[in-house]
């Protein structure tokens, strides 16, 4: 690891912390007088600043054609953006002591009492996941298949180019910026914890969103616990999926918008809308599904700008201006991906195809090509009782996972809270800001349900932020019940959280116990690969013909190898069969296989078994993972691109 990279990473970390502190002061200046909300909004400037800095450097690399996406220019850009940000905030005027920023007086709310028990259940659940995560290597199907390999690819090439024709390597990946930077530290154990702070960000945002509808601290804390206990959240906190990353930014943006309606000063409102836009931009650049979810926030921004707080100096502000500020800020944290798509594929939203009336206007792939479509009645039949049944509609295995289940606490409080809130809308006619936000949350939740069954093709994690808003309804219901039933509600909550925690921790606890019992600590053993995989040389070029998630493990502990997936290999062969010549042409040094050999595996392939069990150089029935070395005389020394259309990968760094 180069010293200059170490210094740059330290500088980035330092700038991040300074920006967090400045973000907190900014929140106070914007009139955010509730601690959890202030800290949730404080996370926006450092997160957005780092993302924006990477986008600036990335765009520079597209324009100049130079491989400059490394920690040094990113640290410089981040520092410059931080300085500009501090100047802008300085011009905002006011200080933390301005009248609207005075801390709320301590409320006369009763103490937490037995409500600490549910909080302890959630803390215990995260503790088990944490211990498991720090003693293992990164996991997650999508993460090992393409999220982490994409980040490693950026690190190796110092570029963030598109891989035309390769869907998974072409997604916007704001969520992989921190793993990309951590990859320079050559320690992939850190990557298991990279999304844990996002769970905390979600908890702070849900707490703030609950407070925005008049919920007290105790019930708001329980709402945050409901969100944290959702299995998708806890599993993704320690995995390499990016739905949680994007959802945390989206929820923080929504929180900023709730404060727009609660502050009186025009400059504070504008600043909060900009903060919301920046956070929404982070989400927009994280996943293509947010091309749908972020415009929903745009609508909320317009509504928030029209709302007047109780002591507003003037009623509302121009919705057009609010939309403009929101949109510009949003693009500041996502423009790099749109620029990349426009320059390299002729489609800003690549890999998503742009179609009008069935006619493809811009290249890419349509969702229907990857997800099955079912009649709406059948979809309703599959989903109406989902919170209680938790049937796994996508993927296989244990129901609690990165893409399935909402947990017992969610099932106990959220559906009832939602119905109770709807009943309240019908039976009571009040005109308060709190009620308006409840209506907005309800509308967003309903939109989430509709999107799940239509555009998002029943992929639950695609609507994660909208699903997590449900925790606010749970908090609101607890608020209503807890004073009248101070014993029953804590008991009910404790049972619900304990059930969720028990079901969730079984898998990590079992895996951890298995590793301790079997003394499985090496990388190769963890990924069930031959030990020889750990010893391959630096810069080795490996063809992965096993399952796609084997891609990341093959990069090795120092992430210094080059791995070509079966999908990339297919593109490289362009319809030809695999042969000694094709291996030679593409400089393949090793082939990794698990299970039977492919049908087109030639008998005379010049390979020797290096590691793993097999009955010779070309076994047809072996199910173990095994690595073959391609005969020296049959490969070129010059390495070609792993992604053939994306420019050469240099191995000389």
């Amino acid at each position: 690891m180069q010293v200059v990279n170490v210094l740059s990473l330290l500088l980035i970390a330092l700038t991040w912390l300074c920006a967090l502190r400045a973000g907190y002061r900014l929140s106070l200046r914007c009139g955010v007088n509730e601690s959890a909300s202030a800290w949730a909004l404080a996370c926006i400037p450092p997160t957005a600043g780092l993302v924006c800095a990477v986008h600036v450097v990335m765009t520079l690399s597209f324009v100049t054609g130079a491989a400059v996406v490394t920690p040094v220019p990113i640290a410089v850009a981040f520092g410059v953006l931080g300085w500009i940000g501090s100047r802008v905030v300085g011009r905002l005027g006011g200080d933390a002591q301005n009248p609207s920023a005075v801390k709320e007086p301590p409320s006369a709310e009763p103490r937490m009492g037995w409500l600490w028990l549910p909080v302890l259940c959630v803390a215990g659940m995260y503790a088990v996941f944490f211990v498991d995560a720090v003693t293992r290597y990164p996991t997650g199907y999508d993460g090992l298949h393409y999220h982490l390999p994409t980040a490693v690819g950026w690190m190796r090439t110092a570029r963030m180019d598109l891989s035309l024709g390769l869907l998974h390597q072409s997604f916007p990946e704001n969520g992989m910026i921190v793993p990309f930077l951590l990859a320079f530290s050559k320690s992939d154990r850190l990557l298991t914890l990279v999304h844990l702070p996002k769970a905390l960000w979600v908890a702070l945002s849900i707490f703030g969103l609950a407070r925005a509808v008049g919920v007290g601290n105790r019930a708001a804390l329980l709402g945050a616990c409901i969100a944290l206990s959702v299995p998708i959240v806890v599993f993704q906190s320690f995995s390499s999926y990016i739905d949680l990353y994007a959802a945390s930014a989206w929820l923080a943006a929504l929180l900023a918008l709730t404060w727009v309606a609660r502050t009186s000063d025009a400059r504070q409102r504008r600043m909060l809308i900009v903060l919301a836009g920046l956070s929404a931009g982070v989400a927009l650049g994280s996943k293509t599904t947010f091309l749908v979810l972020v415009p929903l926030l745009g609508v909320v921004a317009i509504a928030a700008a029209r709302m007047s707080s109780k002591d507003a100096v003037r009623p509302g502000s121009s919705p057009v201006r609010a939309a403009l500020w929101f949109g510009v800020a949003c693009l500041a944290c996502s423009f790099g991906w749109f620029t990349r798509g426009a320059i390299q594929a002729g489609n800003p939203v690549y890999p998503l195809a742009v179609e009008v009336g069935g006619e493809r206007l811009l290249p890419g792939v349509a969702a229907r090509e990857h997800f099955p479509s079912r009649p709406i009645v059948r979809k309703l039949a599959r989903w109406w009782d989902y919170p209680w049944r938790e049937t796994k509609h996508s993927g296989t295995g244990y129901p609690y996972s990165v893409n399935n289940a909402m947990g017992a606490a969610y099932a106990a409080f959220v559906p009832v809270g939602f119905v109770a809130a709807l009943w309240g809308f019908i039976t009571r006619r009040e005109r308060t800001v709190e009620r308006a936000w409840m209506l907005i949350y309800a509308a967003l939740s309903l939109t989430g349900m509709i999107l799940l069954l239509t555009l998002f093709r029943e992929m639950l994690r695609f609507v994660l932020p909208l699903g997590l808003i449900g925790a606010v309804f749970g908090a609101w219901l607890v608020q209503r019940m807890v004073d009248r039933h101070p014993r029953v509600v804590p008991v009910l909550a404790t049972v619900a959280f304990a059930v969720t925690a028990a079901v969730a921790v079984l898998k990590p606890a079992h895996a951890l116990a298995g590793r301790i019992r079997g003394d499985v600590w090496s990388r190769a053993e963890f990924y069930e690969m031959p030990a020889e995989v750990d010893d391959l040389s630096t810069g080795a070029r490996i063809l992965n013909l096993a399952e796609l998630p084997a891609t990341y493990p093959l990069y090795g502990e120092d992430l210094d190898r080059e791995v070509i997936t079966a999908l990339q290999w297919e593109a490289m062969l362009s319809g030809r069969a695999m042969s000694a010549r094709s291996l030679r042409e593409h400089g393949i040094e090793y082939i990794y296989l698990r299970g039977p050999c492919p049908n087109d595996w030639p008998r005379d392939l010049p390979v020797t078994l290096l590691g793993g069990d097999g009955d010779g150089p070309s076994p047809r029935s072996c199910v173990e993972g095994r690595i073959y070395r391609v005969a020296e005389s049959d490969r070129r020394v010059v390495h070609l691109s792993a992604a053939p259309q994306a420019g050469p990968l240099s191995n000389d760094r």
């Binding site: 409080f413 039933h485 079901v503 079984l506």
Partner: protein, 45 residues
């Protein structure tokens, strides 16, 4: 006031019912039970 108290009791009852429905119907709880039985069986014998 009385109506509010009755309504709160109703919502609390529905929450309890909802949790019971989860325990009875959830495939996750069933999978957890099966896994615990399997592991216990493996451990004991």
């Amino acid at each position: 006031m009385l109506r509010v108290r009755h309504a709160d009791r109703l919502w609390l009852g529905l929450c309890v019912l909802s949790l019971c429905a989860y325990m009875a119907l959830s495939e996750s709880v069933r999978a957890f039970g099966a896994e615990v039985l399997r592991l216990t069986g493996k451990f004991c014998g």
